[in-house]
């Protein structure tokens, strides 16, 4: 039991140690550090500013009000924000392969994924979590809360973070084979984030089904939010989907673990 606890805990502690060292390293350039600290939350906040501006031109979007969309926006933003903070650096995998630094990491006693994700850790990526969290908190004041809705919201945020984390890692595994394809992962992760910032009613039903059953991005906010906001599924899809986010997260994590293992075993290192 103690052994198991250590096996789970040690990588987490190591992540913290490596991350802390990187944060200290970024302080070597204080001017850049502070400019990044200012520009990061501003940049992630732009999407919401755009939403507000859109609502200056329209009264509703896809049948949803600004507060409802704020709930969707905040939920997906917290999800991708947490995932990006913790595992987002995996997108840099190709660079680690090209420079041979991945080889060095493979000879250290810390799980490779932990090292890759902690590499170049920057606390400024917390900005998205805070900014989206603020929008979510604002939107939450318009929700008619019940214990079940609170629980669903909690499960939604955890599942959303895990789904995005699985996407970050899983899609980055492509870089074990071709190192310069970081943008493919961005298409799925940030593309998925952008898509779920809006009510899915703006998309054709085929797209919604794809985002449910093929690439289960809709579970990061849409289905649980329908339940929390007390709305019927506009596409008439079964209501159990509104509680299936944890299941979707488990499936995504499984697929991601398989992709990572197969990537590491197929890894061919660089050059000679």
């Amino acid at each position: 039991m103690a052994d198991l606890a250590a096996r789970v805990l040690e990588p987490v502690v190591d992540f913290g140690r490596i991350a802390r060292l990187w944060m200290r390293a970024t302080m070597a350039y204080p001017a850049s550090f502070w400019m990044l600290a200012v520009s990061s939350p501003l940049t992630t906040g732009l999407d919401f500013v755009a939403l507000v501006i859109i609502f200056g031109n329209v009264d509703d979007l896809g049948g949803f009000s600004l507060t409802e969309i704020g709930f969707l926006y905040g939920a997906t933003g917290v999800g991708i924000g947490v995932a990006d903070l913790v595992v987002g650096r995996v997108g840099n995998l190709g660079e680690l392969v090209r420079t041979g630094r991945l080889d060095t990491m493979m000879t250290k006693p810390v799980p490779l994924l932990v090292q890759v994700c902690a590499d170049g850790f920057a606390l400024r990526r917390l900005a998205r979590v805070l900014q989206s969290g603020a929008v979510l908190a604002w939107a939450a004041t318009y929700v008619d809360w019940s214990p079940a809705r609170v629980a669903t919201t909690g499960a939604m945020l955890v599942s959303g973070s895990l789904i995005f984390a699985a996407l970050f890692v899983g899609m980055s595994c492509l870089q074990f084979w071709t190192t310069d394809t970081a943008e493919v992962a961005n298409g799925f992760t940030y593309g998925g984030n952008t898509a779920t910032q809006y009510p899915l009613t703006v998309f054709p039903v085929e797209v919604v089904k794809a985002l449910t059953f093929v690439l289960p991005i809709a579970f990061v906010n849409w289905y649980p939010a329908l339940y929390v906001l007390g709305r019927d599924d506009p596409f008439g899809l079964p209501s159990w989907l509104q509680h299936a986010s944890p299941l979707a997260a488990v499936v995504c994590l499984g697929a991601c673990a398989l992709a990572w293992r197969s990537g590491v075993r197929h890894y061919t290192s660089t050059g000679s």
């Binding site: 040690e10 140690r17 890894y267 000679s272």
Partner: protein, 312 residues
């Protein structure tokens, strides 16, 4: 049980060719060797011979295509993290230190992630700082260190957790003569006092001569020699050259065991087998001629390997 046990190790890469689909390239073919604890082994071969591929399999970075491999009792690619505690790795061209932070911070992190006993870590650190003359550099950001200083830092970093095996990939590349000498001295002492097993790849024959009792040669992915350095010279038919400066110009010297290959005024070049002792040749020359000066030229590693192929 041997510390490193490689049997019929193979590694194939699938290489994409322009317009011609994929093709399999064998980087390492049927390589078999053992390394016993405390050995110092030079692993040499031309560029692209399969040296790095082998080292990467031994360190768990690459998965062998086939064959049996055990390092310190574990299968490297399956048990990378357990293996990591048993090995230290230094890749000469890149650093595992934190670029923007003082050397001390990198050492401290390694202490923590390897979970080395604190007393043991302090003792090791003190010893390596002393032996590698790192004292004044501990608070310097790594980016400000010279190549030689950084290499010393990297070697200390690779040793802090008391590994049984140290892999060094071109450890002296780019270093000046003095730094090379000091580094070799350190590695010799490390092996003698701590019994650390050393496996190094290098292009520098002097590294091998200074450090290794055993040489393993690989070419085109195949192991072509495994034995002592003198033995390699014997197999490869390599020769050493005795350069004799006589007091006056003379006809070609004739002594048993050596051929005079060149005469230029008072200076003459005598070739003799590399594995033979130079002493009888020197004695014979000194007894028969009026010698002003003598020197011996060692063969270059590339020549030895080339002649190995020429004869095999």
């Amino acid at each position: 049980m041997a510390l490193i046990e490689a049997r019929d190790l193979n590694r194939t890469f699938s290489v994409r060719r322009r317009g011609a689909g994929r093709r399999d390239v064998v980087a390492v073919r049927d390589v078999t060797f053992d390394v016993e604890p405390g050995e110092m082994v030079g692993y040499i071969g031309p560029n692209g011979a399969g040296k790095s591929t082998t080292i990467k399999m031994l360190t768990g970075i690459l998965v062998p295509t086939s064959g049996h491999l055990r390092v310190a009792g574990v299968e490297p690619s399956r048990d990378r993290r357990r293996l990591a505690r048993q090995i230290g790795v230094v890749f000469g061209q890149r650093t595992s230190l934190w670029w923007d932070l003082p050397l001390r911070d990198s050492f401290d992190l390694l202490h923590r992630i390897y979970r080395t006993d604190p007393a043991r870590h302090r003792a090791n650190l003190a010893e390596f700082v002393e032996l590698l003359a790192l004292g004044d550099l501990l608070d310097t950001p790594v980016r400000q260190l010279s190549l030689g200083q950084r290499m010393r830092g990297d070697i200390a970093a690779a040793l802090l957790h008391d590994p049984a095996i140290l892999y060094l990939d071109e450890p002296t590349i780019g270093l000046d003569v003095v730094s090379k000498g000091r580094l070799r001295e350190f590695l010799r002492a490390l092996n003698a006092t701590r019994g650390v097993t050393l496996l190094l790849t290098t292009h520098d024959l002097q590294d091998i001569e200074a450090l290794c009792d055993r040489v393993v040669v690989i070419d085109h992915g195949t192991l072509v020699y495994d034995g002592s350095l003198p033995g390699l010279h014997e197999v490869g038919g390599s020769t050493r050259t005795l350069v004799v400066d006589l007091a006056d110009a003379a006809p070609p010297i004739a002594v048993p065991g050596a051929d005079t290959v060149r005469v230029e005024g008072p200076r003459q070049w005598l070739r003799f087998p590399a594995e033979a002792s130079a002493a009888p040749v020197v004695a014979a020359v000194a007894a028969a001629y009026d010698v002003a000066d003598l020197s011996i030229q060692e063969p270059a590693i590339e020549d030895v390997i080339r002649s190995l192929y020429g004869s095999g």
